[in-house]
C-alpha cells in the first residue's frame, strides 16, 4: 500500500503545481466577446481574418453578449467588445453601462447563402436591390434604441415555422440574441434581419423557417440539414467567404465598439480609433 500512497501523493503534488502554475503569469485585461463574432477574432487575433489581436488582453467568450455583460457586472471581465448597434441595444436594456462609441473596425453585413445554391444568391440579391427602400424603412424602424431591445419591443413577432424537406422553404439560420438585428419575442422572432428574411421569403414566394442556433455554428450549418441562408448580423469577410457566398451588403454601418461600466473613465479622452486602440494596448490587468 505504501507505494500507492506515494503515487497518490505524487499525483496530488503534480496537480497542485499545475494549479499554481496557472495562477501565476502576468495579469491581463479580461475582455468579454460573443463566440465566433468579429469581436472575438478582433480581440483574440486571427491571421485569416486579418486581425493582430492584443497581447495584453485575455479574451473570454460567451454564448451571447448579454452573458458577457453580466460578467462585467459581476466584475470578472472589464469590457465587452461587440457590434455597435447590439452594444447600444444592450446598454439600453441594462443599467450601469456605457458604449464607447468609437469604431474599432469597419464592417458591413450580408446574407450568407449556401455555396451550392448560386441561383438563390442571385434571387436574394435581386430582392435586396428591388426592395432597397423597404429595407431602409425596416432598418429605420429599429433605429430608436429605447425600443429596439427585446424588453420593450411591441410589434408582431415572425413565427419560426416548421421545417419540411418536401416544401419550398427558405430555411434561415440565426442567433436570436443579437437585438436589434434578431431577438426572440414570445415563440417568434423579431429584428431587422428577421424582417428582411420575411421580406425576401415573401418576394421569392417561399415559406420562411427560422432556426435559432449558436452564432458560431451558423456559417458551418449552411448547406447542411436543409439550411439555405444565414441572416444574423454577419460581417462579410474573407474567412467566411471561403465556405459561404455573401449577398450584397444590406447594412453598411456596422463596427465593433467597447462597452464599459458607466463609471469607467479609461477611454474618456479618446476621440479617434487610434487613440482607443492605443489605450487598449496599454491597459494592464
Amino acid at each position: 500500500m505504501n507505494k500507492f500512497s506515494k503515487i497518490v501523493a505524487l499525483l496530488m503534488a503534480v496537480c497542485f503545481v499545475v494549479c499554481l502554475a496557472s495562477c501565476g503569469g502576468d495579469a491581463k485585461v479580461k475582455v468579454g466577446v460573443q463566440s465566433g463574432t468579429t469581436g472575438y477574432s478582433f480581440m483574440a487575433g486571427d491571421a485569416d481574418w486579418g486581425f493582430d489581436g492584443f497581447s495584453n488582453v485575455e479574451v473570454a467568450s460567451y454564448d451571447n453578449a448579454g452573458l458577457a455583460l453580466k460578467d462585467v457586472e459581476a466584475g470578472n471581465v472589464k469590457y465587452v467588445v461587440i457590434d455597435a448597434d447590439v452594444a447600444k441595444s444592450l446598454v439600453a436594456s441594462n443599467e450601469g453601462f456605457k458604449v464607447i462609441d468609437i469604431a474599432l473596425t469597419t464592417e458591413s453585413y450580408g446574407i450568407a447563402v449556401d455555396k451550392n445554391q448560386p441561383e438563390l444568391l442571385e434571387k436574394i440579391n435581386g430582392v435586396l436591390a428591388d426592395k432597397a427602400d423597404d429595407i431602409t424603412a425596416i432598418i429605420d424602424s429599429y433605429a430608436n434604441v429605447d425600443d429596439n431591445n427585446s424588453k420593450d419591443w411591441a410589434g408582431t413577432p415572425i413565427p419560426a415555422g416548421t421545417y419540411d424537406a418536401n416544401k419550398d422553404q427558405l430555411v434561415v439560420a440565426t442567433n436570436a440574441a443579437f437585438a436589434p438585428f434578431e431577438f426572440v419575442v414570445g415563440d417568434g422572432f423579431a429584428g431587422i434581419d428577421m424582417e428582411i428574411a420575411k421580406l425576401v421569403a415573401d418576394e421569392l414566394g417561399m415559406e420562411l423557417v427560422i432556426m435559432n442556433m449558436d452564432f458560431e455554428a451558423i456559417t458551418g450549418a449552411l448547406g447542411k440539414n436543409g439550411v439555405d441562408v444565414g441572416i444574423a448580423g454577419m460581417t462579410i469577410n474573407a474567412a467566411r467567404k471561403k465556405v459561404v457566398n455573401f449577398t450584397d451588403s444590406y447594412f453598411t454601418d456596422a463596427y465593433q465598439v467597447i462597452i464599459a461600466k458607466a463609471d469607467d473613465t479609461t477611454f474618456d479622452s479618446c476621440k479617434t480609433t487610434e487613440e482607443v486602440l492605443d489605450v487598449l494596448k496599454g491597459l494592464k490587468g
Binding site: F4, L11, M12, C15, V18, C19, S22, G32, S35, G36, S41, A44, D46, A47, D48, W49, A60, S61, Y62, D63, L67, A68, K70, D71, E73, A74, G75, N76, E216, T219, G220, A239, R240, K242, V243, V244
Partner: protein, 233 residues
C-alpha cells in the same frame, strides 16, 4: 480531406492554435482532477453522515440536508448548475471568481453527490457481519469502520470511482458555457475560425478517448494491486 488537413495545419501549427489546445487540456485536467478530489472529500463527508447510526436529532437534520444536496446535484443537469452557479449565485453573493475556479468548485460539488452515493452503497455492501465481528472483538465504532469496513468498501468503490473520473473528464466539455476555455472549446475555436470542423472534432474525440483509456488502465492496475491480498482470486 487534403484541403481540410491543410487548413487545420495552418491553424494548429502555423498560427499556434496548439497552444490554446494545450492550455485547454490543462484546464480540462485541472477541472476533472481537482473536481474529483473535492468530490471525494465532500462525498466522503456525506456518505459518513448517511451511514452512521442516527442517534441524535442533529445527525438526522444533517442527513436531510445531505439528501437535499444529493437530490439537487443529481436531479439537475450540470450545465444548469454551471449557469446558476456562475451567472446567478456568485454575482448575488458579490463574489468575483475566475470562471475556471468556479467551474472546478461546481464540478467538484456535482461529483460529490455521485461519489457520496457510490461510497454509501460501497460501505453498505460490506457484510454487516464484518462490523458485528469487529464490535464483538471490542473495537469501537469508528475503529471498526476505518480498519475493517472501509478497506473492504474501497475495493467495491474503486471501479465506480474510476467511472466517476471518466464521466467528469467528459463532462468538462460543457464548461465553455461559462467562458472556460477547455480542450473542447479550444478545438471549437479552431474550427469556428475557418469553418472546417472535420479534423478538429475528430482530433478532439481522439484526445478524450486517449485520456479515458489512460484512466481505465490506471484504475485496472490499481484494482489488481488491491486484489493481491484477496484469497478469492
Amino acid at each position: 480531406m487534403g484541403a481540410a488537413w491543410e487548413v487545420f495545419y495552418n491553424k494548429f501549427i502555423v498560427y499556434g492554435g496548439w497552444k490554446t489546445v494545450v492550455d485547454g487540456l490543462v484546464v480540462t485536467l485541472q477541472i476533472a482532477v481537482i473536481g474529483l478530489i473535492i468530490g471525494i472529500l465532500i462525498g466522503t463527508l456525506i456518505a459518513t453522515v448517511k451511514v452512521v447510526p442516527k442517534r441524535n436529532p442533529a445527525l438526522k437534520v444533517l442527513s436531510v440536508i445531505c439528501d437535499i444536496y444529493v437530490g439537487f446535484f443529481r436531479g439537475t443537469p450540470l450545465v444548469v448548475q454551471l449557469l446558476i452557479g456562475y451567472f446567478v449565485l456568485l454575482p448575488a453573493l458579490g463574489l468575483r471568481v475566475e470562471a475556471v475556479y468556479a467551474a472546478i468548485v461546481i464540478y467538484g460539488m456535482n461529483s460529490a453527490a455521485y461519489v457520496s452515493e457510490t461510497m454509501r452503497s460501497g460501505i453498505q455492501a460490506v457484510d454487516i457481519g464484518q462490523m458485528e465481528a469487529a464490535r464483538a472483538l471490542g473495537l469501537n465504532y469508528s475503529t471498526s469502520m476505518m480498519k475493517v469496513v472501509i478497506p473492504q468498501a474501497v475495493k467495491n468503490i474503486l471501479p465506480t470511482l474510476g467511472n466517476e473520473f471518466i464521466s467528469l473528464i467528459k463532462e468538462t466539455s460543457v464548461a465553455s458555457f461559462i467562458s472556460v476555455v477547455d480542450v473542447t472549446k479550444a478545438f471549437r475555436q479552431i474550427g469556428d475560425s475557418n469553418y472546417e470542423y472535420i479534423i478538429p472534432y475528430l482530433m478532439l474525440a481522439a484526445i478524450y478517448l486517449i485520456l479515458v483509456m489512460i484512466i481505465t488502465l490506471g484504475v485496472r492496475l490499481l484494482e489488481r494491486r488491491l486484489r493481491r491480498s484477496d484469497r478469492r482470486s
